[in-house]
Amino acid sequence: MSENGHDHKHEEPRHDRSRWAARIRAVEELLVEKGVFTKEEVKAQVEYMEARTYENGARLVARAWVDPAFKKRLLSDTRAAAAELGIDASGPTEFVTVENTDEVHNVIVCTLCSCYPRAILGRPPDWYKSFAYRSRVVVEPREVLREFGLELPEDKPIAVHDSSADLRYLVLPQRPEGTEGMVEDELAALVTRDSLIGTDVPRTARETSRV
């Protein structure tokens, strides 16, 4: 046992964040000076990313729960389905939605870096990029999910998707029981950011209070 009580090393705290920020600013200025891109383009890209949040994913999921034909389109062509809801996911990367069912629970990771469906969900949470999550969820997914507060039955198969190439994955979680009377907006409010990655599942208020 190591000093943190289990058998893996934790990342060092980031004391040098400002040093890296300064370095990035220096590289950015150099690239602008060399004419690779303009300051306006950098600003536009920041705004593009800031405008995207996991709520886009929540809207896709809620629509899929109430509209089986939409769900079919979401699973076969995520980008086109997103466009139907006014979410622009155009660009060089492909997007794939994987469906949680009674037979399988899906979890997304990028072990090589931090690939994430940013054009739809915005920036990934910090933990998604952490060495601990990336290295552990492929080896011991059930244990990692338990640490997130998600206890899956021992016999429920887990499919981990390591998205390290040209495709970006998001999870279509299962609709919680007891939500039959809810309208689309109410359903979307149940969809958490982490449930789109697979480290959580949507819960009703009653289930949440039980946890």
Binding site: A80, V138, E140, I158, V160, H161, D162, S164, A165
Partner: protein
Amino acid sequence: MISPAAGARFAPGDDVQVRDVEKEGHVRTPDYTKGKPGWIAEILGTFPNPESLANGGAGLPEKPLYKVGFRQTDLWGGYEGSPEDILFVDIYEHWLQPREHGEEEKQP
């Protein structure tokens, strides 16, 4: 929409093995899959070769990309989860070889 890959060497259901070779530079094949047996779950289309793109190249010729499935118990010794647990990784064709006993192909 994922476009079909022209000239793909493998088909869904084929048994494959990830080539167990070292290659310098920007390689998108995770080390933990090297040498491991899996199967073609899906053909994902063709994409510019990232190993070329990362060096300022054009990524040509484009490479077929596959969703490869692995049984977790084949990836990790002493895996403690369900034997049904699987892991999918997207792997470019030149990192895959047919699963045959004792046969090693050349470096990609």
